[in-house]
């Protein structure tokens, strides 16, 4: 995988997913070491990928913004943890599909598993070295790819 293609595909996927689901514009993207960005209690969405590579797409949402993002998505107040997890997992699912649509230019096959969302207990459990930081106005979402 070419890093430039991955980055551009991630960026386009985040632009479209955040505008259409959170009604938020992507302001900026940068890259950071993962141990600088996560806190215990943040939400992690894992998408297992089996084709065109084996690995995971991981998204991270700050715990302080997660309920607000899902509320914006559904257009009604959401504060139950299970509904927050479900909303973030659905965002991850949509983001993953858009990433591959851009990365494979609509004509390649890809396969993802069901998205899983959990709250992180320990930031050291994240095995990614670096993540992209997507600035959606006053909320940051983080994303990374881990290949097996």
């Amino acid at each position: 995988m070419q890093n430039d293609d991955v980055f551009l595909s991630m960026r386009r996927a985040m632009e479209e997913a955040s505008e259409r689901l959170f009604f938020r514009e992507l302001i900026d993207v940068n890259s950071k070491p993962s141990d600088q960005v996560f806190r215990s209690g943040d939400y992690q969405v894992i998408l297992k990928v089996t084709n065109p590579f084996k690995g995971q797409i991981q998204l991270f949402f700050p715990k302080d913004s997660a309920a607000q993002l899902v509320t914006e998505m559904l257009g009604e107040p959401v504060d139950e943890i299970e509904k927050i997890k479900d909303g973030l997992a659905e965002f991850g699912n949509t983001f993953g599909g858009l990433f591959f649509k851009n990365f494979l230019r609509s004509n390649g096959a890809y396969q993802m598993g069901l998205p899983e969302c959990r709250q992180m207990g320990n930031k050291k459990a994240v095995s990614l070295d670096r993540v992209w930081v997507f600035d959606l106005d006053d909320v940051n979402i983080y994303a990374g790819i881990q290949k097996e």
Partner: protein
């Protein structure tokens, strides 16, 4: 009044699909919801449904198997099935259409696309 079955394992996705249908002008639609294909078949056996909107990637029974079961049943064959999936690409779309899906929509749902589809499928004004 249109009777619509929404099949998706995500509560959020089902809510977003319902809102999209409402925005497209079907404010009085009656909705049934299922979180997998198996549960959807139970509903289809007991209710008269005008349209099925289903995800693909689900536990228990996925959307492709649900589609095959509906289209192999003489009783259910005429029920239009629209697939709404984040896994949309040329290959998956062709496969779903071969299995007699009415249409395949990608996620996130584009309202104009959903509107055209509902208009054609349910003969909305």
């Amino acid at each position: 009044m249109h009777r619509i079955l929404i099949v998706d394992d995500s509560f959020t996705a089902r809510s977003l699909i319902k809102k999209s249908v409402n925005i497209c002008g079907l404010q009085d639609a009656l909705f049934w919801e299922a979180d997998n294909g198996k549960r959807a078949l139970e509903i289809l056996r007991n209710e008269s449904i005008d349209l099925v909107l289903t995800d693909v990637n689900m536990p228990e029974m996925d959307g492709l198997n649900l589609l095959k079961r509906i289209k192999s049943s003489p009783k259910l064959f005429d029920v239009p099935v629209v697939v709404i999936t984040s896994l949309k690409n040329d290959t998956s779309e062709r496969l779903m259409l071969q299995e007699h899906a009415t249409a395949v929509l990608g996620k996130p749902i584009a309202i104009p696309e959903m509107y055209r589809l509902l208009k054609d499928t349910l003969h909305m004004i």
